[in-house]
C-alpha cells in the first residue's frame, strides 16, 4: 500500500461511524433489580438482537436473545502492573460471539453483585481482538435506595474492597432503584452519598427498574469524544464531603499544558496511584494544539486522542476528573497546575 492510500484510509476512519457492537455492563448488588432491568431490556419492543452474558443464574430466557452463562475468571496480566486484570471468561465468550455469522445489535453483560467492575472495563482496553469489534458503551450500576447505605457503610477487613463502593465509583449511569421504599429525606441523603463517591455519573431514580432504555443503552460513556460533553457541575461542587475514602476530584483550570510535563505527571500518577484511581477522564488543552486532547482511563490504563477543534476565541480550559480511593485534592490540583505553561494562553476575543 502506498503512503497516499494510507493517508486516505486514516482520513476516512476519522469521520467514519463507529460500527462496533456496543456492550453494556450491568452491575449492582443482589436484590438491586438487575434481573428486572435485564428483562426490561430484553422484552421492550425495540427490535434489537441482543446477546446476554450472565455471571449469575437469573430468570432471563427470551427467545430472541442468546443467553450465555459464565463464571467469573479474573486474570492478571504479565505487564508488571498489579491492578491490571482482565476477565478471561468474557474474552473467551465475546471472542466466540464475534465468530458467529449472526450479528448482534447489542451485548449486555450482567455481573454478580460482588464483581469488581475494573477487570470488565480493562478487558475492552487490553484485548485488541475485542476492542476492534466491540465497544464498551457504559457501566450501569443498579442501587437499591433502601439498602445502599448499609452496603456502603459496611466495614470490610483490611485489604478487602467494599464492592458497593467500587460499583458506584466505576459507574457511568446509576439506576437508583426502589425509590418508593424511601422517603424524600432519605432519597436526598442517598443521592448525596452517591455523589460524594462518583460525581460524574448520571443518577436515574426508578421504581421496578423502569428507566428509559436510551438513557442506559446509548450512553457512549467510553467514547473519547463524549467525555465530559456536558459541563459537569461537580468541578466546583465540593460541598458534601463525607467520610468516605472513595471520592471524585475534579480539576478545572484555564491555560495551556506543557505536553512533556503532563506526560511525566500523569504517567507517574497512574503508575504510583493507579491502583487507587478507578476512573479518570479529561479534556485538555496542549500547548500549540489546535484540537482538544481527550483521555479516559481505568486504573493504570489510559486511552487518549485528539478531539474536536478549539473554536476561535474559546478559552483553553482543562477539565479532568479522577474517581478513586484516598485521593488528595490539593496534591492533584497542584500537580496538574504545575504542568501549565508559565505564560497564560492568549485568548483571542
Amino acid at each position: 500500500m502506498t503512503d497516499g492510500a494510507t493517508d486516505l484510509t486514516e482520513t476516512e476512519t476519522d469521520t467514519a461511524i463507529d460500527t462496533r457492537v456496543p456492550v453494556t455492563v450491568l452491575t449492582g448488588f443482589l436484590g438491586s433489580g438487575k434481573t428486572t432491568l435485564l428483562n426490561r431490556i430484553l422484552t421492550e419492543q425495540h427490535g434489537l438482537k441482543i446477546a446476554v452474558i450472565e455471571n449469575e443464574f437469573g430468570e432471563v430466557g427470551i427467545d430472541d436473545a442468546l443467553v450465555l452463562d459464565a463464571e467469573e475468571e479474573i486474570f492478571e496480566m504479565n505487564n508488571g502492573c498489579i491492578c491490571c486484570t482482565v476477565r478471561g471468561d468474557l474474552i473467551r465468550i465475546l471472542g466466540a460471539l464475534m465468530r458467529r455469522r449472526e450479528r448482534f445489535d447489542r451485548i449486555v453483560i450482567e455481573t454478580t453483585g460482588l464483581a469488581d467492575p475494573a477487570p470488565v472495563a480493562q478487558t475492552f482496553f487490553m484485548d485488541d481482538e475485542i476492542a476492534s469489534q466491540l465497544r464498551l458503551d457504559a457501566i450501569v450500576t443498579l442501587v437499591d435506595a433502601a439498602h445502599i447505605r448499609t452496603h456502603l457503610d459496611e466495614v470490610k477487613p483490611e485489604g478487602v474492597e467494599n464492592e458497593a463502593v467500587e460499583q458506584i465509583a466505576f459507574a457511568d449511569r446509576i439506576v437508583l432503584n426502589k425509590t418508593d421504599l424511601v422517603d424524600h429525606q432519605q432519597l436526598a441523603e442517598v443521592i448525596a452519598r452517591i455523589r460524594s463517591v462518583n460525581a460524574l455519573a448520571d443518577i436515574l431514580p426508578a421504581q421496578n427498574a423502569a428507566v428509559e432504555l436510551p438513557e442506559i443503552l446509548d450512553v457512549h460513556a467510553f467514547d473519547l469524544d463524549r467525555v465530559l460533553e456536558a459541563d459537569p457541575q461537580f468541578l466546583t461542587d465540593t460541598e458534601h464531603q463525607h467520610d468516605t475514602t472513595v471520592t471524585s476530584v475534579g480539576i478545572d483550570l484555564e491555560g495551556e499544558l506543557d505536553e512533556d510535563q503532563l506526560n511525566t505527571w500523569l504517567g507517574t500518577l497512574l503508575r504510583e496511584k493507579g491502583a487507587d484511581i478507578f476512573r479518570s477522564k479529561g479534556i485538555l488543552a496542549l500547548e500549540g494544539a489546535e484540537r482538544q486532547y481527550v483521555f479516559q482511563g481505568v486504573h493504570m490504563l489510559l486511552d487518549g486522542e485528539m478531539g474536536r477543534q478549539w473554536e476561535a476565541g474559546e478559552p483553553r480550559r482543562n477539565r479532568l476528573v479522577f474517581i478513586g480511593r484516598n485521593l488528595d485534592r490539593e496534591e492533584l490540583n497542584a500537580g496538574f497546575a504545575a504542568c501549565l505553561t508559565a505564560i497564560p494562553a492568549a485568548v483571542n476575543a
Binding site: E76, I91, R99
Partner: protein, 342 residues
C-alpha cells in the same frame, strides 16, 4: 529479497456451507468444516461432496476427525459430541461446560477440554478418565509421550496428566492466561501462546523456560511443523517463525512473514518441507517457504491471493491439497504440485 518461483496453485473443488466456519480439519479422505452456530459438514476430500452433517446444539468451537476418519469430535460452548462414521450417529454430551479444544490421541482415545477439566473419552464417547479442575477454563489440550500423557493449558501454566492420576504429574508454571498450546513432534518443547502477547517456551525434559515478548497482540495461534524444528505464530500482522533446531530459539531472531493485517489462520504443510499456509482478516490467502532465508529475514509469500471474504479456517488434506473456508462459508480445495519448485 531473493526471488522465489511462484507456486502453481489450481482449484480442485469448491462448495459452500451455510454458516461461518470456525474450524477445518482434514484426514483419511475426509474434511470437517465446522460452523460457529453448531453444524459441522463432513466432506469427501476428492470431490467436496457432503458425506454427513453433524450438529452440536449451541455452537461449535473445535472439530477434529480421528486419524482413521472413523470418528469426528466436536467441542462447543455448552458441551461436546462424537460422531461415528460407521453408524452415522452422534453422541451429544450437554455438559454445560465450555469445550474449546478436542484432540485425538491415536484412534482409540479422545481428549476434550470441558470447563476447568479435561476429559479422556473412548471413540464411543465413554469416559476413561478426567483431570482435576484447573484454576480456569481449559483453553487447549495436546498429547505427549505416545499419547500417554495429556497436556492442558489454563491460567498460570501448562499441566500434564496421566491416566493413573487426576492431579498433574508435571507442571510447567508461568503466570498469566495461556490461550493455545503447541508441542514439538520431537517432544522436546512445549509452547504456549499468551493473552499477555508473548510465547512461553519450556524444555520438556527439565522445565527450563524462556519467554518471547514484544508481540503487539495476544498469541492465539501457534503451530510446530512436522519436524519440530519450526514454530509459527500470530500475535502481530507478521507471522513469526522461530527456529527450534539445536539448542532452541533462545538468543535468535525469527523469520517474519508479511502479508496480513491480522492473522485468522495458519497451518504447516504436512511432511516438513517448510511450507506454511496462512490467511488474514484483509482477505489474503498466502503460502510461504517459511524456513527460507536467514534468521531475522522478512520473507514475502511464495503465493498470495486476494479473496472476496477472509478465510477463517484452513487445513491441509495431505501435502498437495489445501482446504480453506471463508467467512461466508465458501469452502475451496486448492491443489499444489507434489514437488514444490525451490
Amino acid at each position: 529479497m531473493s526471488t522465489v518461483a511462484a507456486l502453481d496453485v489450481a482449484t480442485a473443488w469448491e462448495t459452500a456451507v451455510d454458516d461461518a466456519p470456525v474450524a477445518v480439519h482434514a484426514v483419511a479422505g475426509l474434511v470437517a468444516v465446522a460452523g460457529a452456530d453448531g453444524t459441522c459438514w463432513v466432506l469427501d476430500t476428492t470431490t467436496g461432496d457432503i458425506v454427513a452433517t453433524v450438529t452440536l446444539p449451541g455452537g461449535i468451537l473445535a472439530a477434529r476427525l480421528s486419524p482413521d476418519g472413523q470418528h469426528l469430535a466436536l467441542g462447543g460452548p455448552f458441551g461436546h459430541a462424537v460422531w461415528s462414521r460407521t453408524t452415522n450417529t452422534t453422541l451429544i454430551s450437554k455438559t454445560g461446560a465450555w469445550s474449546a479444544a478436542v484432540r485425538w490421541g491415536g484412534t482409540d482415545k479422545l481428549a476434550v477440554a470441558s470447563g476447568r477439566r479435561a476429559l479422556v473419552l473412548t471413540p464411543d464417547g465413554a469416559q476413561l478418565w478426567a483431570t482435576d479442575p484447573a484454576p480456569s477454563t481449559v483453553t487447549d489440550v495436546a498429547w505427549l509421550r505416545e499419547n500417554r500423557r495429556l497436556a492442558t493449558t489454563a491460567y498460570n501454566g501448562v499441566r500434564c496428566y496421566e491416566r493413573h492420576s487426576a492431579r498433574p504429574v508435571t507442571e510447567y508454571p508461568y503466570l498469566g492466561s495461556h490461550l493455545a498450546l503447541a508441542i514439538a513432534p520431537t517432544g522436546r518443547w512445549i509452547c504456549s501462546g499468551n493473552q499477555d502477547a508473548s510465547i512461553h517456551i519450556w524444555r520438556t525434559r527439565d522445565g527450563g523456560d524462556l519467554t518471547m515478548h514484544g508481540y503487539p497482540d495476544k498469541i492465539a495461534r501457534l503451530a510446530f511443523d512436522d519436524t519440530g524444528y519450526w514454530l509459527a505464530s500470530d500475535g502481530a500482522p507478521d507471522i513469526t517463525v522461530w527456529d527450534f533446531s539445536g539448542k532452541g530459539p533462545e538468543g535468535t531472531r525469527p523469520r517474519t512473514l508479511r502479508a496480513h493485517e491480522t492473522i485468522t489462520a495458519l497451518a504447516w504443510r504436512p511432511g516438513g518441507a517448510g511450507v506454511l499456509a496462512s490467511a488474514g482478516v484483509e482477505g489474503t490467502l498466502a503460502l510461504w517457504r517459511a524456513t527460507g532465508g536467514r534468521a531475522g529475514a522478512r520473507l514475502a509469500p511464495a503465493h498470495a491471493r486476494d479473496l472476496d471474504q477472509p478465510v477463517t479456517a484452513l487445513a491441509w488434506a495431505g501435502p498437495d491439497l489445501l482446504v480453506t473456508a471463508d467467512w461466508e462459508g465458501r469452502v475451496q480445495a486448492s491443489r499444489l504440485p507434489a514437488a514444490l519448485p525451490r
